[in-house]
Structure formats: C-alpha cells, structure tokens
C-alpha cells in the first residue's frame, strides 16, 4: 500500500515506475512529471522503475542519501541518473523493444527544449551537467559530439561504462567517479541556515511582520494546507488564549456566527438543546449548528470580513484541487459506485408479486380458468427503497490543516458515489472554538449537489464527545428518508479541547478535556449512540499511540488509514459491511 498522497499526474508517473520495476510496494524517491513532454517523462519514469528493478529500493535510497542536502545535490543527482540511464538502457533494451524509440524521442526533446529556455533557466543550469547530457543525447541521436574539455571527456567516459555494476558495486563505483573528478568527497557540505533567537518586544514585533508557525488556539485562522507544518508532526497547541477568551461570552457567540455561519436553530431552541446536551463533562459548553450560510443584515466588521474571505479562498483551493485531478477523482467515484452497487445488488431484498408473466404460481392457476385472472405467475421486483442513511462526520480541528483539500475531495467522492447508488448521505464537519462545539452541515440529505462540501476548512479543537451528542441530536431532528442510520466519523482518536471540564464532585478542581478523560468521554458517547440504535463506525488516521485510543472508543468498528486519500475507500468498505449486515439483521 502506498504511503504517499499523489495527484492524478503523479500517480500515473508512479504507475509507470512501478510497472517498469515489476513491484508496487514502494514509493519512488523520484518522479518525472516536470517536463511538458509526456514521452520524456515516460522514458525517465521507465528508467527510474528499472533502477528499482535491478538495484532495489535500499541501494538507491542509500546512494542518493550520500549527498542528500549537500550543496551539489542537484548536480550529483543529475549525473547519477545520466550514469544509470546508460547502464539500464544497455541492460534492458534487448528485452524491451520500445526502449530505443523512447530514448531517441527523449534525446530529440532535450535539444528541442534548448530553444525554449529563458536566460534565467539557462543560468540556473549546471554547465557540467548540461555538457554531459548534451554529449549523451548527441551520441544517441548520431549528432556531432559537443566540444568537451579533456577532463569532461574523461568524466563522460566514466558515466558511460561498458559493463553494468552489480547492486553491491554500484554505490562504490559512482562514489569513486565523483571522488576522482572532485565532485563529491564523501562528506556532506551543507549550507547552514541563518538562525537568530530573539525574545521580548523584538520577538513580538518580528512575529507580526514575519511568517509564523501554526499554533492551535481559539482564534480562527484559515490557512493553506501547504502552510501547515508537516515536519513538526502537526500543529503545536496552546490553551492559554482559550481561558482568556472564555470571559467574553457574548462576543464569542458573534465571533462563532461570523466565522462559521448562521445558526440553524432559533436562540430559544438552541438554549433548550444546550440544556439537554451540555451536561456532565460538557457542562458550561456551547453548541452551534450551522449550514455555513451567513446572515446578510448589518455591517460586517473588518476582522470577520477577512475570515470569511479566507474561508472562501480555502473553498476555492479545495474546488481547484478537485478539478485539477478530476480524471482521477472521477475514476475513484466510478469504482466506489460500482462496488457499492454490486454489494447492494447482491444483498438487496426482492419482493415477489403476482404478475402476468414470470414463474408459474400453481396455487393461482385456477384463477385463469374460473375468473379469467391471468396474473397467475410470480414476478420478482427489487426493493429500491433506501434502507439506511449515511452520515459522514469529519473532524475539522486544526490537526487536519495539512489535508484540507484532500479531505474535501474525499468527502465529495464518497457523497457522489452514494448519491449515484441512491443512498441518502449527509456530510458534516465539527470543531470546537472558544467553548463552542460547531456542527457544520456541508451537505444535507436532500441536497442533490455536493458542491458545498468544498466549504470544508479546519480550525480549532475537537471535543469529540460533545460533537457526537450533537450528531445524534441532529440525526433525530433531521433523520432523512430511512429508519436505519450509519454514522461514519473521520477521527484521529485524540479528542482535545481548550474548554476545561468544570469542577464536579469527582474532580473538585476541574480537568482538561484531553488524554484519558476525553477518550473515556468519547467512548461513553459512542456506546450511548449504539444503544440508541445508531451504527457508529470510525475511519481512523493517526499515530500508533492513538490507535489504542481508537480501539477503546470504537471497539472493533474502526478501520485505519495511513493516508487521507484512502478515506472514501475505507468509508465505502464500512458502507458495504452495513449493506451486508442489513440482510442478516
């Protein structure tokens, strides 16, 4: 299983590499997707795949790892691929008839590209690499060799060996060439970054004018997935500002309304629902149910206007990501639709009716003879009424910042597949900000389009226990067209909120809503939902430590995914399981 999220173009390139390698159990270090010429990319991917076939993943990652981060990394990578291209072509071309034509096409494209380069592009090219490449492709095309210095001539010969080194020899052979020509001495020469540690007023000033790392807090910041810090293993967390924010309840409400959209319930109804749901561990919390639409009356303060604009921008990014990879996404929708349809077809119930054709019902034959009723046959009619609804509840806390576009796309894929199968689906997201747990309906059961799912954005905390209570309440108030309900939650099994649990008999000082306390709370809410007849399953994506939490909360009813782009498939499996259970249950 692939552990990397690919765009449609990258996935196709990876497929070209896997195909040439004859193996699919690795994620390639290199992908050729850069040039505008598809044949050139194709040939290079073929070479990369063959490198994996003959040298293996470990050898290649060690080899390129020697100079990874070195100031000459780009040059050394290019020269190494030039070397590998020659040995792999020589080895494979006798058994792969397509290679010669592809190689010639690649060479022609190399020279054709020369005329298209701008001055800046020429300057960014490494002269030595260019000379070596030029010599190689001139030779391939039968052109006159370019003028090379004697040292370059020697290097070119070294990069064009007559024999293919074995996997044991390749690393040493290439390192020896680079040593001989003083290109790499075996030690990495890293260009050190400039680091400055500042504190106090100067630090405050700098954080205003410089980009800063994300800190999860109660201030909504809609930001690009790419801006979120991946390297640090997620977002940092600070609960300090949360406590200050608690003191400003009225402004908080207006803040929530302005950030997330109008409430779906009147103030009176919302108070009633809060009274009913915000008890126990959630005492003192607030709820917000919204469809993401904003109220239009009154002047919008600038700070809210900015947030709305940012949310709008994220929606645009989600939409553009989906459409950029439309071919792949359509393919996923059609696969998932087919799987669910097949499962439905296999397990659907059939009604037997009396009819004028079909298989003979001998108990009715007399009717034809005596009362001229010709409906003496059995006909089967498939029961096409939806027998259950699906609620997809997406965690939209800041821990999902890196995946916003992919998550929105996965939500759309699943919703479209279920719509095609006539299974009612609702997609919602939840997050907690300033003591409010916001339940945002992105697509209602009655919506025929999935476009609003693109309004997904991540921010704040996740108070899973309370979100589940909200989900149940909403399910009771808007149950959709079937009696049976499947609730699928995308979760990291790490519930966490800035709003503390208020002091009680058991904890006179109150407690933070995190770790064991929040896991136990969420687990009890899941049990309560199941006791009320709602089928709860989870798609879990998180670290190994949280996997234990997921098991505690959801029992066996969860499926783990490594990458967010596996969400729709995983949810599809859960839905198929539900369809199977329907016929047994």
């Amino acid at each position: 299983m692939s552990a990397v999220t690919y765009t449609a173009r990258e996935r196709r390139a990876a497929n070209q590499i896997w195909n040439a390698a004859g193996r699919y159990n690795f994620d390639p270090l290199f992908l050729a997707v850069e040039t505008k010429n598809q044949i050139s990319d194709f040939y290079m991917n073929l070479i990369i795949g063959l490198a994996y076939k003959y040298y293996g993943e470990k050898t290649l990652s060690t080899l390129f790892g020697y100079w990874n981060g070195d100031i000459s990394q780009a040059m050394l990578d290019d020269l190494t691929w030039l070397y590998l291209e020659h040995v792999l072509y020589t080895k494979e071309s006798p058994v792969r008839p397509s290679m010669t034509d592809l190689r010639i096409a690649y060479g022609s494209d190399f020279f054709a590209g020369e005329y298209k380069l701008s001055r800046q592009e020429w300057m960014s090219k490494n002269r030595l690499v260019y000379n070596m490449q030029s010599a190689r492709w001139s030779h391939v095309l039968g052109k006159k060799n370019p003028l090379l210095t004697p040292i370059e001539q020697k290097l070119y010969c070294a990069l064009t060996p007559s024999e293919m080194p074995s996997p044991d020899e390749i690393k040493e052979t290439i390192l020896a060439i680079y040593r001989e020509f003083h290109l790499f001495d075996g030690k990495k020469h890293v260009k050190k970054g400039f680091r400055l540690h500042v504190t106090g007023a100067f630090a405050r000033f700098l954080t205003r004018i410089m980009p800063v790392q994300t800190v999860r807090n109660d201030q909504i910041m809609v930001m690009r997935s790419s801006q979120a810090d991946v390297q640090m293993g997620g977002t940092l967390q600070s609960k300090k500002r949360g406590h200050i924010a608690l003191k400003k309840e009225i402004s908080d409400r207006s803040y929530i309304e302005n950030c997330f959209g109008r409430s779906l319930f009147s103030d009176q109804d919302l108070v009633k629902i809060e009274k009913e749901l915000c008890t126990g561990n959630h005492n003192g919390c607030h709820l917000w149910f919204t469809d993401g639409k904003y109220t239009t009356h009154g002047k919008i303060p600038d700070k809210f206007r900015h947030l709305r604009d940012q949310a709008g921008l994220q929606a645009e990014r989600n939409r553009s990501y989906y459409h950029k990879n439309l071919q792949l996404h359509n393919s996923l929708v059609s696969h998932l639709t087919e799987q669910i349809r097949n499962c439905e077809q296999v397990h659907q119930q059939t009604d037997v009716l009396s009819s004028q054709s079909g298989s003979l019902d001998i108990t009715r034959v007399w009717r034809a003879e005596y009362i001229e009723d010709d409906r003496i046959f059995h006909a089967k009619e498939d029961d096409n009424q939806p027998s259950f609804t699906v609620d997809l509840l997406l965690d939209a806390s800041a821990s999902r910042l890196q995946y916003q576009e992919i998550l929105a796309a996965q939500g759309v894929i699943l919703a479209q597949s279920l719509l095609a199968c006539h299974i009612p689906v609702r997609v919602s997201k939840f997050c907690s900000v300033r003591g409010y747990t916001v339940f945002h309906v992105l697509k209602a059961f009655e919506d025929k389009k999935c476009d609003r799912i693109f309004n997904y954005f991540a921010a704040g905390w996740n108070r899973d226990g309370l979100a589940l209570r909200e989900a149940e309440k909403f399910l009771r108030l808007a149950p959709g067209p079937a009696d049976r309900h499947l609730l699928i939650i995308l979760t990291d099994a790490a519930p966490n909120d800035s709003q503390r649990i208020l002091p009680s008999e058991h904890a006179p000082m109150g407690r933070n809503y995190e770790d064991d306390v929040s896991v136990q709370d969420t687990a009890s809410e899941v049990r309560a939902l199941r006791a009320n007849g709602i089928h709860v399953s989870a798609v879990f994506m998180g670290n190994d430590a949280a996997a234990h939490n997921a098991a505690q909360i959801y029992g066996k009813e969860f499926t783990r995914i490594r990458q967010i782009d596996q969400l729709a498939k995983a949810a599809g499996r859960l839905i198929q399981k539900e369809i199977q259970e329907l016929t047994i249950g």
Partner: protein, 306 residues
C-alpha cells in the same frame, strides 16, 4: 477428444491417470442426441499439477470447485475436463437473481395441465453429464441449498409434487468461483464442503507463451514473449489495485493479436482488444502506458508475424 488425450500425454501428465480417463471415456457411452453437447475446446489448459489433481478427483467421483482470480483458466479447464472425459456438458451461469427453479426446473402450464419443465441441473443429473456451475458464488446461498442433495452422498433430486430421481453415476459438477469479483459473496460452508477445491494459480509466462504459440504459430518469438509479458504487467497492476479486473482480459489480448493478423496497426489493435473495454479515461491512460513500455509506437503488424 483424442486430440486432448494426445495433448495430456505430450504434457507429461501421469500415464496411469491418462489411461484411466481414456478407459472411462471409452466405456461410458453418450446418447446420440447429446453428442453435440460434448465440448470441443478452443484452448488447452496448461499446468500439470492442476490437471492431475482435477483428473484424479473426477475419476474418484468427486465434484470439483475451481477457485481463482480472473484469467486463471477456470472455464478453460472445466471445458477441457468435460471434453477429455467425453461427457455432455451443461453450462449454468450463476447470477444474483438465480433461484432453485432456474437450476432444477419449474412448473409450466401445458395443454391445460401443470407440468414440470426440467432445468439444467436436472437434465445433467438425468443424463450423466458434466454440469459447469460458472461463478457459483454470484447466487444467493438460499438458492444453492437445492444443490446439497445432488452434490453429497445422497445424489438425488427431489422435486416436491413429482418423482424423486437419482443422479446418474457419470454425473459430475464443476463449479468455478472468483472470491474477489465484484458482486460475489462468501460461499456457505455446507456447499463448499461438497466439493474438492482446487486453487487455480495465476498464469505464468511459460504457459502464456505456449498458449500464444498454439493460437498464433506465426507470431515471432520476440513478440510472443512481449505479448505474454504485457499481459503479466497488466495482471500485476490489477493485483495491486491500480487497475480494475476488467482490464485483465486474456480473450481481449488474443482478439487484438487476431486483428493484427488482419493488418490492423499493433497499438490500434490493442486499443480495440483491451484499452477501449475500460470506460474510465484515467485507467485507459494507465493501460496505454503499460503497452508503451513494451511495444514501440510505430510497430507494424508485419514485424510481429513471421
């Protein structure tokens, strides 16, 4: 049939088994009107171990289940077996709406009377045929329950309201199934226990090349190998979930080579035989990449054949 016996001998299948099969076929006569039901296979199944297991099971009077992925030769083997034993075959393709009546038979109204119209399993059982139960796990388990008494030691068919008939001694059932096929289900234990199950291995390069040589003797050795490898590349892509099983179509590959024989350019023929059968443009791109990684774009049919 003689042709198949020769083929088995040539393949090096156990001489005792081949002799017993020949003896069986010679000593069990087939009614004249059923002779047209004895299959004449277009393809031979390759794989000595599987042949020997299947022949031994059928000689012992067992029913056979061939379980395996798409394009592992399940139906080819089933047809080959009926042919080598010289028995009439009934092909019964299973589907989700299959019921007991469509297997055993149903009532019909004829000349003012309700009469029984026999189904394929009934005919097969009455005439000592080979019943090929294709994709048996497509049907609902409740529909298959009627087969229990036919397949186990009782070997009877009891149709309510009619006579109870015994299954003829020569009757055998060969079921095929693919666990991973969309729309299939787990076979219930009661039914599975009534079969001897052979897990069909995926086609290997050697067997594929021999099959291609059988079908297209004028294909050059170089391209015989390339087409076999092309099929295996697609097989690997399907196994790894990058392509749906629809793309794995041996018949399609053979059809494409036939088209090349008629002068259709190689890439176009492969499009007609394989790529165009997939209606998903992303998957079509993946298939074309697999083809492009093996065969030159300008390859002419005349270069492929001797």
């Amino acid at each position: 049939m003689n042709d198949l016996i020769e083929f088995l001998k040539h393949e090096g299948i156990s001489a005792d088994l081949v002799e017993e099969v020949q003896h069986y076929a010679d000593s069990h006569a087939v009614k004249e009107e059923l002779k047209s039901r004895i299959p004449v296979p277009h393809f031979h199944y390759y794989g000595n171990k599987i042949w020997e297991e299947a022949l031994a099971a059928l000689l012992c009077g067992k029913n056979l289940m061939l379980a395996g992925e798409k394009a592992t030769g399940k139906n080819v083997l089933a047809e080959n077996l009926a042919a080598v034993f010289g028995r009439p075959a009934w092909d019964i393709s299973f589907h989700v709406n299959m019921d007991a009546a469509s297997l055993i038979g149903s009532d019909t109204f004829h000349d003012g009377r309700v009469t029984f119209r026999p189904g394929p399993v009934y005919c097969c059982a009455e005439n000592g045929g080979f019943g090929i139960l294709d994709e048996i796990n497509m049907a609902r388990n409740e529909a298959l329950a009627v087969l229990h008494s036919v397949l186990d030691f009782r070997r009877v068919i009891d149709v309510p309201g009619y006579e109870r008939i015994s299954v003829a001694e020569d009757t055998r059932f060969i079921a095929t199934m693919n666990y991973n096929y969309a729309g299939t289900r787990e076979l219930n234990e009661a039914l599975a226990s009534r079969f001897v199950v052979i897990q069909m291995p995926p086609l290997i390069q050697d067997d594929l090349q021999r099959l291609l040589k059988d079908q297209f003797p004028d294909l050059t050795a170089k391209y015989n190998k390339q087409f076999a490898l092309l099929f295996l590349d697609l097989q690997k892509k399907c196994e790894n979930g990058e392509l749906t099983e629809k793309a794995l179509d041996l018949r399609g590959t053979l059809d494409a080579i036939s088209l090349m024989q008629k002068g259709i350019p190689v890439r176009d023929a492969l499009d007609l035989g394989i790529t165009n059968k997939i209606f998903d443009s992303y998957e079509q791109g993946l298939i074309r990449d697999v083809i492009a990684a093996r065969l030159p774009a300008k390859l002419r049919p005349s270069e492929v054949f001797e």
